[in-house]
Symmetry: C2
């Protein structure tokens, strides 16, 4: 441990057993434990939702990895179709924006059960709105069947200002970033949809991806 101490000595501000006694650490942490948090503190820079879903991890992954599932669990993304000559890129309508095209690409990693949606309004070249999903076997982390789903969005600077205003439909008065402060309850609506659909299909033995699949649509 001597080597470790020497290496770390030059880094200011570390809080470790060697320099902050246990009782002092306990006091500090207890003092920092709050009864309430402001929305800005919890959801200002990042918006993470977590839930348990009574559906096996592989099925939750399969469902999220299928781009057409958007048409089911989202409130507003519809008529998803591949973009010609752009492998992996899809487009649809986002009915939250007026006359708004949404573009998206799914980056799904089965070995780690991560599924990321890279998307944007109005154009498909700079997919800056990123929905980070991670599925964890609930048996491992909660000792119960099913899945834990983690869903994080990060406050990309484009939420504050549309980087391509010239591409916005003239009729549209809303920018997606205007809704950032409402992402937690807004995404909760879609997370509730997702859970309801997956639990219904798992409980009743209905194929998880019930409609057309990416493969079928190609």
């Amino acid at each position: 441990m001597r080597d470790t101490e020497r290496r770390l000595a030059e880094i200011p501000g570390l809080v470790r057993y060697e320099n902050v006694p246990r009782d002092e650490l306990m006091r500090r942490v207890a003092a920092a434990t709050r009864e309430t948090y402001s929305r800005e503190e919890v959801y200002g820079r990042f918006c993470t939702l977590e839930t348990h879903i009574d559906c096996p991890p592989e099925d939750v992954f399969t469902y999220l990895a299928d781009v057409y599932s958007h048409e089911e669990f989202t409130y507003s993304v519809r008529e998803v179709e591949p973009v010609a000559d752009r492998p992996g890129l899809f487009t649809g309508w986002d009915t939250v924006g007026e006359d708004t095209r949404i573009y998206m690409r799914v980056d799904a990693r089965p070995e780690a059960l991560t599924v990321d949606y890279h998307s944007a309004w109005d154009q498909g070249d700079d997919l800056w709105m990123v929905y980070l999903f991670r599925i964890v076997p609930a048996e491992v982390v909660l000792k119960r069947p099913g899945s834990v789903l983690l869903w994080t969005n990060c406050h990309h600077p484009y939420y504050a200002e549309n980087p391509y205003p010239e591409l916005a439909p003239p009729s549209r008065t809303l920018w997606v970033g205007d809704l950032w402060s409402q992402f937690a309850p807004g995404h909760q609506v879609e997370l509730d949809n997702l859970r309801a659909i997956l639990e219904h299909r798992h409980r009743n033995g209905i194929p998880i991806v019930a409609g057309r699949t990416e493969a079928a649509a190609r």
Copy 2:
């Protein structure tokens, strides 16, 4: 879309554009947007911390994937060493518990930049305390260099009650789960340590894993 509607009609409670008008959805979400949240609401079932670290994603991954990094960024885990005849299993002392052995296994997936610590106090056969880390290139989600680190713990039922009380050292009065309500500020201390170490080494061109490595220790 007709097929989709038919498939979803039998699932009660879905909130979709087709059954909840846009203005009504906007009203509901605005009404559900809160100024404050209780600790139980935010950290009761899951404890997620997020931060930006000014250090490349691959380096953050390498650091977290090295089990000996525990000895640096954690407040209390020290003297980590491999357990004989148990490949991948390590043990150390957790100085937050009195005379407490901690056991751990690292599950690191470079292709998805996830690093999970599966650990437990007192025994190494049932590693139920799981620290879920995910590293995301900040360029992708925040349009800036460095990494976003997501860190989630889930409220496993063993936090509420020690499943193996007979293995606890007689001198110990604390159970790790007694601290669950303080995990957010407690983990924040270690996240601040982690960020300070990684940013210091990245800024100064110091090797990210400065001490012995897993490979060297074998």
